[in-house]
Every structure is written in C-alpha cells, then in structure tokens.
C-alpha cells in the first residue's frame, strides 16, 4: 500500500463517497455561513477552506450519547415485584473524520490519555476511537486566534491523524501516518503523489512560520503556582467573562461530562452529555455546597486543567491544541493565550497584580 498520494480537488466528493461505502464519514459541512461536522450525505457541501466552527470531537465523543437504556417490567405473578431490564449498545459502525485540522486531530490524543489507559478505559470512547480513521487537512496559514505552535503543535502536525493532506496545485498531497491511513490510500481516486512531496513540505513550512506563538522565548514551561493561586490575578483577567460554555463546547480537548437519567414512567435512558466547567452547576454538590460559585474560580479551573493539572498528570502534555476557537468565538474576546502568557512569565508576581500595577487586557 502506498503511503503517499495526490487527490485532485474535483475528486473530493467522490473520495468521501467511497470512504462512506463502509463507514460513517464526518466532514465539515457548510450550513448557511456555519461549518459544522456532520455525517456526510450527498446533499451536504464539504467546506475545507477554513476551520469548521465546531471541532470534530463529537464524531468520537458525542455531545450526547446513551450509555444504557432501561425498562421496568412488572411480574404478573407477583405484582409488587418490579424487574428492570438494562440494555447497552457498543456496536458502533466504522467511521472516518475527514477534513479536520491538525489541532482537531491532536485534540483526540488529549482525550485518549484520559479515556483509554490501563487503569480504566471508557468502552464507548475506546470502541469509537478504534473504529475511526482520521484524515486531516493541514492549514495554509493561521486564522483569528490560532496559536498551535505555542502548545507543541503546528499547521502540519501529524499527531492524532491517520492521513494528513496538504493543499498543492489544485489538489491535496496525501500522506499516510498510520496503517489505518495506508488502507485509505488504496482508493482509486488517489493518484501518484511523489512529485508533490517537496511542494507540500514547502507549503507546510510557510504556514508554520505564519502562526503566532503567544509565549515569548523566556516563558517558563510550568505555570506560576503563586500567580495561579492569586485571586487578584483572576479578578483582573476575567472580569469580562460572561461565564457561558462556548469556549468549552467548541474546544477539541474538553472532555468533562454530566450523566443524567431521562425517564418516562416505565422506560428511560442514562445519557452522558458534555458538561462545562464554566457553568455554575458543574461543581454543585448533592449537599448544596458548591466549591466554585464564582466565575473566577470556574475560569481558573479551565486554565488550570489545560495548562497545570493535566500536564502534571500526563508527562507535561498540554491539554490545549491552540485551535483558537475559544478566542475567536468568545462573546467578549477573552484570550486564553494571553492569560497563560502571564502565568508562564518568569517574572510572574502576584503582588504586582494585587497592587493594581498590572493592568491586563481585562
């Protein structure tokens, strides 16, 4: 099987339809002015010219999924006895995520560490992940808010992808990264690509050079624990946050969820839905106590999870891929890279923030 190839632009539809013969293909679809990852059907218009509004995260980790369904059953002989029948379904079809960006593909690797590991794996995520092939489109350049190079990625990063494709000469140079990817490359629309390799490399290098790294060269790797613990700091940087969930629901790495039972008398489902640490209910305990009643604490958790706790637990891996969506779509333009920049500043000093000498873009 070839691991390099070329796909002309006019063959994209045909290629996606061929992929769809034995798999559910999730592709960025244009709906009005919005690009959303949807399961491909021939009436959808595939949009590859800019990153989708949403990441493809939901293809493997759906925003809402049924963990089990249940039904109460009466025993005719002993009416006071009630049985409950449980059903689960782990029979997921093969899937392809087509046309995500390198930051989107890297997002899955962040979730993998949590949901697939020797201690405890999530069977729903694991099964879907194993069944899915990820074909990623490298970026020609940055979009508003992007900062992938600042968090170890890049517009041509291969991490998490099975195939990467780079726009060259009216088509895409395709390169398989994994064996799963090589299997895709045998489809007949893929032409010989060896002659495009150098051009693709050049395009990728050019794109990489254009992406901003928000963290100056002298930034420290770990966030300052002192500044992180400073309430003054969070008060100032986050005064403008409206505490909605746009940032977390558009994030390719956020994986927190909520579980609820949705019951209608005798039948029901236990569902898992994405949750957001930006919501007040996220940490509301059964007792009524809530450790994070104010938005500052909630926002601190979001930054801490991605840049502090997660790296501590998973060998310095950062749980942010710099896709820029949380910046781009924030109602009040909160810039997480700016905030992390203060925390990674070698001269980070909580006293300065307390003394009102510092005035961030708050």
């Amino acid at each position: 099987m070839a691991d390099k190839g070329y796909l002309p632009k006019e063959k994209i539809k045909e290629f996606v339809e061929a992929l769809g013969k034995d798999a559910a293909v999730y592709a960025p679809s244009l709906e009005g002015d919005t690009i959303i990852f949807r399961q491909y059907t021939s009436d959808k218009e595939i949009a590859l010219d800019r990153p989708a509004n949403t990441p493809p995260k939901g293809a493997i980790y759906p925003q809402c999924e049924t963990l089990l369904s249940f039904e109460f059953k009466k025993d005719e002989a002993t009416p006071q006895k009630m049985d409950i029948e449980l059903k689960t379904n782990l029979d997921f079809p093969k899937a392809v995520v087509f046309g995500g960006r390198p930051c989107d593909a890297r997002g899955f690797t962040v979730i993998d560490r949590v949901f697939i590991n020797p201690e405890a794996s999530d069977p729903y995520y694991q099964k879907r992940r194993e069944n899915t092939t990820i074909i990623t489109k490298c970026c020609n350049g940055p979009y508003a808010g992007c900062f992938c190079v600042g968090v170890g990625g890049g517009p041509a990063s291969r991490e998490g992808s099975d195939v990467v494709m780079t726009e060259v000469d009216g088509g895409y140079y395709m390169e398989a990264v994994t064996d799963k990817g090589k299997a895709v490359m045998s489809l007949p629309m893929i032409q010989d690509g060896a002659s495009y390799e150098a051009k693709a490399k050049e395009a990728n290098e050019k794109a990489t050079a254009k992406v901003r790294n928000p963290f100056p060269a002298d930034s420290v790797d770990k966030v300052s624990p002192e500044l992180f613990d400073s309430a003054d700091f969070w008060d100032k940087v986050i005064a403008k946050c409206v505490s909605c969930g746009a940032c977390t629901f558009l994030c390719p790495t956020c994986y927190c969820f909520n579980i609820t039972d949705e019951q209608a008398i005798m039948t029901g489902e236990r569902i898992r839905t994405w949750d957001s640490c930006m919501f007040q209910h996220f940490t509301l305990e059964t007792s009524g106590h809530n450790p994070r009643t104010i938005k500052n604490k909630r926002f601190r958790n979001r930054v801490g999870h991605k840049f502090y706790y997660y790296p501590e637990k998973y060998e310095n891996a950062i749980a942010c891929t710099g896709c820029g969506r949380c910046i781009r779509y924030c109602p009040v333009s909160v810039d997480i890279s700016e905030i992390v920049g203060y925390l990674k500043d070698p001269k980070a000093d909580p006293a300065q923030w307390a003394a009102e000498k510092k005035d961030a873009k708050n």
């Binding site: 709906e31 009005g32 002015d33 919005t34 959303i36 010219d49 800019r50 509004n53 949403t54 925003q63 809402c64 350049g141 940055p142 979009y143 508003a144 808010g145 100032k236 005064a239 403008k240 409206v242 505490s243 909605c244 969930g245 746009a246 977390t248 629901f249 558009l250 909520n258 609820t260 949705e262 569902i271 839905t273 957001s276 919501f279 007040q280 209910h281 509301l284 969506r325 910046i327 779509y329 109602p331 009040v332 333009s333 909160v334 810039d335 890279s337 700016e338 009102e356 005035d359 873009k361 708050n362």
Partner: protein
C-alpha cells in the same frame, strides 16, 4: 476625535467611581474586548471604533459599587430597562453616552474578506479598510453592520450623564425595525417551520446567547440547566434545543431591548434574535410598549389590568 473626548470624560469620571467599563483593542484588530478601568494609566488603552460591539451595560447588575459605563444608543436601552425592573440603582451608575453611526458585524466582515486572517484595520466614520495576506479592501460599514444598525432608531443614547460626541438623529424609518420579522410573517407556516428547524438544529446549547443577554436575569438558576428539578432534559435533539430558545424568547416578552447580543455571540451563527423580535413586535401591537426607552414606563408583563385597551377578553 471622539476617542479623545471619551478619554477625557473617563479621566474626569474615574475619581468618583470604582471602575469605568469601556472597550480596548482585543486579540486582533477586528476584535475589541471590555476593559474595567480602575487607574488613570489604563485610560490610554480605550478605543472607540466600529468594532465596539459588546453591550457593556450588561455588566451593571453585578457591580457592587458606583461605576461608570460607556454605552452606544442601543446599549443605553438596557440601562433604562434595568431601571424599570429595579435591577440597578441609577445613583450608582455614571452613564457615558457614545453616539454611534453603526458598528460592524465581525462575522459579516470575515465573510467579506473570505475569512482570511486580519492583519490591519483602519476605521473611518463610514467605512473600514482591512488588510489581509491577499491585499487591502475597503468595505462600507453599512454593508457589514448587524441588522439592528440598518433600522437603528436610537443612534444617541436614550439616557446619559455625559455625551462623548454630538448627538445624532436617526435617519431610518420607524417601520424598518420589524421589517425582517414582517418578511418572515409573510411566509407560510411550513416555510417558517423549515427555516427555524434548519437554524436551531445548529445549536450546541453553549448558552452564550443567554449569558450575553443583558435581560436574562436568572443566569445560574436557568430552567434549562437546573438539575433538581430536572425541567429540561440534557438531550441534544432538536426539540430540546428549540425548547430552550422558546423559553429564552418568552422570558423576554416585552423586556428584550433588541441589543442583538444573543445573535452576535452565537458561535453557530444562528439568528436567535428573530424569535425575540417577533414577540417584541406583538407586544408593541398589543400594548404599544417599546422596552428600554422611558425609565418611568412599566413593562406590560409586570402589571395587570383588568381591561387591556387592545385585549378584549370580556367581549369574546
């Protein structure tokens, strides 16, 4: 020019207040972001241009001390509505009014420049010059403004303590305000249903529309999220999405000040303000009431009259 005047006013107001809420440059030239000014050194960061879209009045109910706030005409209606509903103490707010000829919709600008990254923008009174990797483009503000600007009746704040520029009179006909709703009303039931079904299916229930809405006062206790009782399911099907938006719209009946924040902030670009405008239009026709214009008004849903002038329930 008016930016300079604005800065002067902020400097004058600052000693008497805890903070002045204004705009400053955001992460790129197309974006501004709110700034909470507490010291005179910060005043230099203040910007005033067509990108100043955020309705800063929304922050007022959460403020504990006396604050200053910069508002455009449309934003100022929020303050009046807050006064009508007793959500703020007028004595604790210094209102700095910014007459406005129209702002830009970030989404429309991005579309006009093929979603290329923005390198530089120059703002003039009625146009913007945008520099992208493929060149420079001049765009008229009227071509990329949000729909609220095309029918703006209140270019000058309806309430203010200071004005940072000369007052402007609206040149838009009053009946243009609900032109888009009227157009939708002209469609058949099936067409309207198809329209809303398509749009609301994009919703991801991130609640940006709710949290950015100045009149959504329940916030953390919103019916869409409470878990005990569990009023609305967490499922992501179309019915649940529509249910949430219907609740949002109904809770704003005769309260929506039409600032357009819900629609501006939607990351999925859903025209969420349409439902609210439709209800406002009904309220106008039934009660002859326009929200957020006169502090002495009582919102019609806050009062009960046995006989409403235009509701003839006893003569049915």
């Amino acid at each position: 020019m008016s930016t300079q005047k604005l800065k002067e006013i902020i400097n004058k107001v600052l000693p008497d207040v805890e903070t002045v809420i204004c705009w400053q440059e955001g992460f790129d030239k197309l974006n501004v972001t709110p700034i909470f000014i507490t010291s005179p050194e910060q005043v230099d960061k203040v910007v005033w241009n067509a990108a100043c879209a955020q309705n800063l009045a929304s922050y007022l109910p959460a403020q504990k001390k006396k604050v200053g706030v910069v508002v455009k005409g449309c934003d100022s209606r929020t303050i009046v509505q807050y006064m009508q509903e007793g959500l703020i103490d007028r004595n604790n707010v210094v209102i700095i009014g910014m007459p406005c000829k129209g702002i830009i919709s970030k989404k429309k600008v991005q579309k006009a420049i093929n979603n290329e990254p923005v390198e530089e923008i120059t703002y003039t009174d009625d146009s913007i010059k945008v520099k992208t990797p493929s060149g420079e483009k001049t765009i008229a503000i009227k071509d990329v403004c949000p729909s609220k600007c095309t029918s703006c009746q209140y270019p000058t704040p309806v309430i203010s303590d200071q004005l940072a520029a000369d007052a402007i009179q609206s040149d838009k006909p009053a009946d243009s305000v609900y032109a888009d709703v009227a157009e939708l009303e002209g469609k058949t039931l099936e067409e309207r249903w198809a329209y809303f079904a398509k749009e609301f299916d994009k919703c991801i229930r991130c609640y940006a529309c709710r949290n950015a809405c100045p009149m959504c006062v329940c916030q953390d206790s919103c019916i869409a999220e409470t878990r005990d009782p569990h009023w609305v399911t967490q499922k992501l099907n179309f019915d649940e999405k529509l249910m949430f938006h219907m609740i949002h719209a109904l809770h704003l009946a005769g309260r929506c000040v039409e600032c357009g924040e819900c629609e501006r902030v939607c990351p999925m670009e859903i025209p969420v303000a349409k439902l609210k405008k439709k209800i406002n239009k009904e309220m106008k026709e039934l009660f002859d009431y326009t929200p957020g214009v006169n502090p002495e008004d009582k919102p019609p849903m806050f009062v009960f009259n046995v006989d409403e002038a235009k509701i003839k329930e006893h003569k049915l």
